[in-house]
């Protein structure tokens, strides 16, 4: 009986080994095929020059209109008391402008528009359990309603604290965040907010050109600008870039390092699951121990 069992064990172990071999053999092609590590050089971006922004919030209005979110009366946007409190993008507004008094050196008032940054290495895309967040060729990070399970891990992962969730809906709640007006861009149109801005505080273009443009502006007026392009290197770079008269990471935007947010996690995941070798090795090890301790015991019993 015991030998019978042992033979079974060996047979099964061999079968498992073979199965694992096939699995590992097929894995690499799948993994490399899916991974788009370097973002497209042709990706678009927007340069937000907060020194030009007048806090008219027409971008907020345009964004809502574009995304079928109740936008309210256009006149109501003249009410500047909304600036009394800090606001964040949420399920009712994909972008918001916050106003800071005494933020800059020379000027008194700084208005900062906030929306998804469309990271070059987006944490939300890396984290999403089902791959409902995807980074597109033009740089836009968009959400897929047919996949999302509503786990809200993207919200936990996003270093800019951007995605919002429709908690009030029992059925079909959405993750709401700026989609870089992906549909409009496909039709060759500007993002709605950029289109609506009356003072050209928002500049749309190729990200590479925008980085150059930003540095050109700083060089031309070194007194006016704080010498840092927010988003050029933050968490590995973002599609949206910011210029300001003061360090934005003091308050208006989070202070972040230059390492891509998903980096550590992805190396852990990769280390643990490199082609399934570690789990299979653990399996084999435990199987070996099980077999050895059993035969030891049998010997004792004889």
């Amino acid at each position: 009986m015991a030998t019978q069992n042992r033979r079974d064990f060996i047979k099964t172990a061999v079968a498992i080994g073979a199965g694992a071999g096939i699995l590992t053999g097929t894995m690499p092609s799948r993994i490399t095929a899916k991974e788009v590590k370097t973002p497209s050089p042709a990706r678009k971006g927007v340069l937000v020059d907060t020194t030009l922004c007048i806090g008219c919030r027409l971008c907020e209005y345009a964004c809502k209109e574009e995304h079928n979110i109740p936008a309210g009366n256009l006149n109501s946007y003249e009410d500047r008391s909304v600036f009394d409190h800090l606001r964040r993008p949420d399920e009712t507004a994909l972008t918001v402008v916050n106003e800071y008094k005494n933020y800059g050196q020379g000027e008194n008032i700084t208005d900062v528009k906030i929306q998804c940054m469309h990271c070059d290495h987006p944490a939300c895309v890396s984290a999403c359990i089902v791959g409902a967040m995807t980074k597109q060729e033009n740089g836009a990070v968009i959400w897929d309603t047919d996949k999302c399970i509503g786990c809200r891990y993207c919200m936990v992962a996003c270093p800019f604290q951007v995605p919002a969730f429709e908690y009030q809906k029992a059925l079909d709640p959405h993750i709401m965040k700026c989609d870089f007006c992906y549909d409009r861009q496909q039709k060759g149109k500007l993002p709605a907010c950029v289109d609506a801005c009356p003072v050209e505080a928002l500049t749309f273009g190729n990200r590479v050109d925008l980085v150059e443009e930003a540095h050109r502006r700083i060089k031309a007026k070194p007194d006016k600008y704080f010498n840092h392009v927010y988003g050029e290197y933050e968490v590995g770079g973002t599609s949206w870039l910011y210029l300001a008269s003061e360090d934005l990471s003091k308050k208006a935007l989070p202070k972040l390092g230059t390492e891509p947010a998903p980096g550590v996690t992805e190396s852990i995941q990769h280390g643990l699951f490199a082609y399934f070798v570690p789990p299979v090795a653990l399996y084999a090890l435990l199987g070996g121990i099980m077999w050895l301790t059993k035969s030891n015991k049998e010997e004792e019993e004889i």
Binding site: M1, N5, T12, I16, I31, K34, R88, D90, A123, S126, A127, C128, I129, V130, G131, A132, K147, C148, I149, G150, C151, R152, Y153, M155, V156, A157, P159, Q161, A164, F165, E166, Y167, Q168, K169, A170, L171, D172, P173, P254, L256, A261, P262, V264, T265, E266, I268, Q269, L272, F273, P279, L282, Y283, L286, G287, I289, M290, T293, K294, N296, K297
Partner: protein, 414 residues
């Protein structure tokens, strides 16, 4: 000693005043659960856009998984390392793990906003996501636990199949099927047992990876890239304390004598296991120089101090003492402390340590959230009681006629 005990259904009256209270707690939870599904997450929870994860993920899922670690740790000890004297505790541990993980799955189902898509991870894979890995491993492990439990069920019905009415014609066929199933499981059970341990190691550690990506929002007292290792080590350390706590509680409430020798044996492992965890945790803090955050006085530093002192260092010292390992009360208290420590650790990691840069509204669990969490725990207790009443789970002194049940999960040892 061992030869004279054998798993058997415990003869108890199901409803006692205590059980009725538990029923009420379960009912209250069920009520809010319905509210969540009918009116949405916003109606029952205090979750918001700054705090997307709250009590249900922190307790029902993360702490639930950790505290169900008794299943794989005892399976490894009893079936893989073949420490036979511990076999009698593998069954109750298996039952709690099975119930525990079932409710983890319910917890996930309740928490995700688009619950009708819960099956999506099976077809849409994102291999960079630790959550995907946790999800798949938990699903697979739950299946493995059901398979491991199956022989206990088939054993009960083999030879006793008695379907009502017309179906009674099928009695013999069903009986045959059960026997075939039992034989098949008998031969292959070791595959599932090893798989269970591997899957547990994987998802216990990946649960720790979950918060790594939120690094910039996490308090440095908890945040570290070695979180997966710390999660695995603490899960292993809490496995035996859970078994000891359950075993003593069950003996007490079913009027049996606790198996002191076996439990003391288990307790011998706990001190070193806690020591290993503490060594890594404190070592990591020293390397990353995070002790300095303890000099600040805030919610995080207080919670951290409680967690590490009350939940890890004190029970570590207790389990290192022989006198405590030999006393039922001593083991019980020390085990409760470890359970508290790991529970608080998961709660802290997922809720207290999470500090988004822009907070418009603080999160504090709502009455509904607490009700659902307590309700799930109550339902688990009720099911546990039901199972031990009708199935041979708990080892008891042999008395007269006993069914041909065995100690081991069949096939694991023979």
């Amino acid at each position: 000693m061992r030869q004279y005990t054998e798993p058997a259904p415990v003869k108890i009256k199901y409803f006692t005043p205590g059980v009725i209270v538990v029923c009420l707690v379960a009912l209250n939870g069920f009520f809010f659960l319905m509210g969540r599904f009918i009116f949405g997450l916003g109606a029952v929870t205090n979750l918001n856009n700054q705090y997307p994860w709250g009590l249900w993920i922190g307790i029902d899922v993360a702490a639930g998984v950790a505290l169900a670690a008794g299943g794989f740790t005892t399976a490894a000890l009893g079936h893989i390392f073949h420490k036979d004297k511990y076999e009698e505790i593998t069954r109750p541990a298996l039952l709690t793990a099975m119930l525990g993980y079932t409710f983890v799955a319910f917890g996930v189902f309740t928490d995700i906003g688009r619950w009708y898509y819960i099956w999506h991870p099976l077809i849409f894979w994102n291999h960079t996501s630790p959550l995907f890995e946790v999800g798949i491993c938990v699903m697979t492990y739950l299946t493995v636990l059901y398979i491991e439990f199956l022989p206990i069920v088939t054993k009960k019905f083999i030879g006793h199949v008695n379907l009502p009415g017309v179906l009674s014609k099928l009695n013999r066929t069903v009986d045959k099927l059960l026997r075939a199933l039992d034989r098949g499981l008998d031969k292959t059970m070791f595959i599932f047992i090893i798989a269970g341990v591997v899957l547990s190691c994987l998802h216990q550690s990946s649960l720790g990876t979950l918060m790594v990506i939120a690094g910039s929002k996490m308090h440095p007292l908890w945040e570290t890239p070695v979180l997966p290792l710390l999660f695995l080590l603490s899960a292993i350390a809490v496995g035996f304390p859970m078994v000891i706590m359950e075993s003593i509680t069950a003996s007490h409430s079913f009027g049996l004598k606790p198996e002191k020798e076996t439990l003391s044996g288990l307790a011998n492992f706990i001190g070193p296991l806690l020591g290993i965890y503490l060594a890594f945790k404190i070592g990591d803090m020293a390397i990353r120089n995070t002790f300095r955050y303890l000099t600040e006085f805030n919610l995080q530093s207080v919670m951290f101090t409680i967690e590490i002192v009350v939940g890890f260092i004190v029970p570590f010292r207790m389990f290192m003492s022989k006198a405590i390992r030999e006393s039922i009360t001593g083991m019980y208290i020390a085990s409760l402390l470890v359970i508290f420590g790991v529970f608080l650790n998961r709660f802290n990691n997922f809720i207290v340590a999470y500090k988004p840069p822009y907070i418009l509204k603080q999160y504090f669990p709502s009455f509904g959230e607490v009700s659902v969490t307590l309700g799930f725990i109550a339902m688990e207790i009720l099911l546990y009681r039901l199972f031990v009443k009708y199935f041979p789970i708990i080892s008891q002194p042999k008395t007269g006629v006993t069914p041909s049940a065995k100690f081991e999960i069949k096939g694991a040892t023979k």
